[in-house]
């Protein structure tokens, strides 16, 4: 069971639905402890003042902001004052077409679950969920997490309300600011090249089945750990590998490469 990281309500119109929020992702990364290589003893982090080297306890730590050379110190409570009324509420501001949202704006996914098993709560939750599933729309609102206000998108997914924090539009760089992106007016490909590329894409197309992909590096790392003796013997394969060369040259004849690839895709 994932931890509840936020409790509050999501409201649309006058209907307020008590919900709790959990992360929609599980951390399956392999985590390491830091140890002192000389003794194998654990390393821990100590927070010390840069001024006098004194240890600073967690309760004595605040957030500092450099305002024109002056350090302004805020407590978490003072920072929360910047978004008081939304701390425990997600107010739906509008409903938009899900397909209109640039997926790059989605930041982290969460799940909204009914806040309790009381009938009034589950009924209101289910009504919002079912109505959103039926209309296929995404609700836009804002949520305060860890003293930061985020734009949030809520939609129905897998019988639950799914919430994603969002980046603001100005937090995504535009392609026009980047010289390396070939502008259409300068680099218009030949129709025959595009058609052949579309044929190649279609020949290599199949349905998306996320369960067929595994995190191969996670598996490789776990295998290495399992096979390694607990002694500190240096593994034989420890020499870092050089990147393989691959081809870094552009295919000299694009059309020939497209045709060759297409023939192989169809042949195989």
């Amino acid at each position: 069971m994932p931890n509840t990281i936020w409790t509050g309500t999501i409201s649309f119109g006058l209907v307020a639905v008590p919900v709790r929020m959990v992360s929609a992702t599980r951390d399956l990364d392999i985590h390491f402890h830091q140890v002192d290589g000389r003794t194998g003893e654990r390393v821990s982090t100590r927070r010390v003042s840069e001024l006098d080297g004194e240890e600073v306890r967690w309760e004595e730590i605040g957030r500092g902001y450099d305002l024109d050379g002056q350090v302004v110190v805020l407590t978490d409570e003072e920072l929360a004052a910047a978004a008081p009324e939304r701390t425990h509420m997600i107010e739906i501001e509008e409903f938009v077409d899900s397909s209109e949202i640039d997926p790059a704006q989605f930041d982290h996914p969460y799940l909204l679950l009914p806040g309790s098993d009381a009938e009034g709560v589950t009924r209101a939750y289910r009504l919002l969920r079912d109505a959103m599933a039926k209309t296929g729309r995404t609700a836009i609102g804002r949520v305060v997490l860890r003293s930061n206000e985020y734009l949030a998108a809520v939609h129905e997914r897998d019988q639950l309300l799914s919430l994603s924090t969002m980046l603001y539009a100005d937090e995504l760089r535009d392609a026009s600011e980047n010289d390396a992106v070939p502008p259409r007016e300068l680099w218009a490909p030949k129709p025959a090249e595009v058609s052949t590329a579309v044929e190649l894409i279609d020949a290599l197309a199949h349905d998306f089945d996320p369960s067929t992909y595994e995190d191969r590096d996670r598996t490789r790392l776990l295998e290495m750990i399992a096979s390694k003796r607990t002694s500190k013997r240096k593994s034989e394969s420890s020499a870092a590998r050089e990147p393989d060369e691959g081809g870094t040259q552009a295919a000299p004849d694009l059309m020939a490469a497209l045709r060759e690839s297409l023939a192989r895709a169809r042949g195989g």
Partner: protein, 297 residues
């Protein structure tokens, strides 16, 4: 001006090799704080110490250790970890293509932008236009820094975007959760009113209309504190669930209608009011229905 690329290599589709550069897309504008001591604003440094002796450990002596299920510790150097991973290729190898519409955006983890290296522009433009026309995205793998990533390459405007992707087992499924029963279906009337309310709040998605008000509010708090004023810390109250769902829905739809000056509720036209301005009367009022709340589990 081109920003600095994160990685240079090739995008490989069959025999078509496109020399490309990888750029970040995200440039966060959140107000950045650093850890300081509350009493005097002194900066905090993270010191790594031996947990037995309390002595500081030089960074050259720090190793990673993995605790196995049998409780024994395996100590690894960064080189050993790098060697365990797959080969560090310099190519984004596209394995197949799939309909863009089939990919739930929850699989997209982090977006990047691809650019072309000199000489790769034409092939880049062909791939971008072909993906756009076919409505597909390329699925492949490549190694970013040390870790192999599953990635999707998709057209976006003039550019090709690359998204690193989450693996299916990294997503929480509703079956893994302990959820209360929700077997009572909404009534037809409730559904109708909820749909009407959604229609009344429907708008065209215009991302640039949303600005980060919070950034400004945080800066205002900082400036107020800098000027020596006390920052008021307000209490926030959670609204209660409404006792009569249908009545609340009906009232909400009526309010939205009134708000539009009598326009039909179901129009999907862009609303004239800025979306970030709270609608008068749209805040749920606390009610006495506390018996419907039995606390969160």
């Amino acid at each position: 001006m081109a920003p600095r690329s994160l990685w240079n290599g090739t995008l490989a589709v069959g025999e078509v090799i496109i020399p490309i550069k990888l750029f970040s897309v995200v440039q966060q504008h959140r107000v950045q704080f650093r850890e300081v001591r509350l009493s005097d604003g002194a900066r905090i440094r993270h010191q790594r110490v031996n947990s037995e002796s309390g002595e500081e450990v030089p960074s050259a002596e720090i190793r990673k250790a993995y605790e196995r299920e049998d409780g024994r510790q395996v100590v690894l150097s960064d080189d050993e970890i790098a060697a365990a991973y797959g080969p560090r290729t310099k190519a984004i190898q596209i394995e197949h293509f799939t309909d863009a519409a089939q990919i739930d955006p929850i699989f997209y983890e982090r977006p990047y932008m691809l650019g072309a290296q000199a000489g790769g522009e034409r092939a880049y433009a062909v791939m971008r236009d072909a993906l756009e026309r076919s409505g597909k995205v390329g699925i492949g793998r490549f190694v970013l820094r040390t870790r192999e990533q599953l990635v999707a390459v998709a057209p976006h405007g003039d550019a090709l975007r690359l998204y690193t992707m989450r693996f299916a087992d990294e997503l929480v499924r509703s079956a893994d959760l302990d959820l209360p029963a929700m077997d009572r279906e909404p009534t037809a009337k409730e559904m109708e009113m909820a749909e009407r309310l959604i229609d009344a709040l429907a708008a065209t998605w215009e991302p640039e209309r949303y600005e980060d008000r919070h950034r400004q509010a945080v800066m205002a708090v900082i400036e107020s504190k800098a000027a020596g004023r006390e920052v008021a810390v307000p209490e926030s109250k959670a609204p209660e669930p409404v006792p009569d769902l249908l009545a609340a829905l009906t009232q909400s739809v009526e309010q939205r209608r009134g708000h539009r000056g009598g326009a039909p509720a179901a129009t999907k036209a862009r609303r004239k009011t800025p979306a970030n301005k709270p609608t008068p009367g749209s805040k749920p009022k606390p009610t006495a229905a506390s018996k419907t709340r039995s606390g969160t589990s």
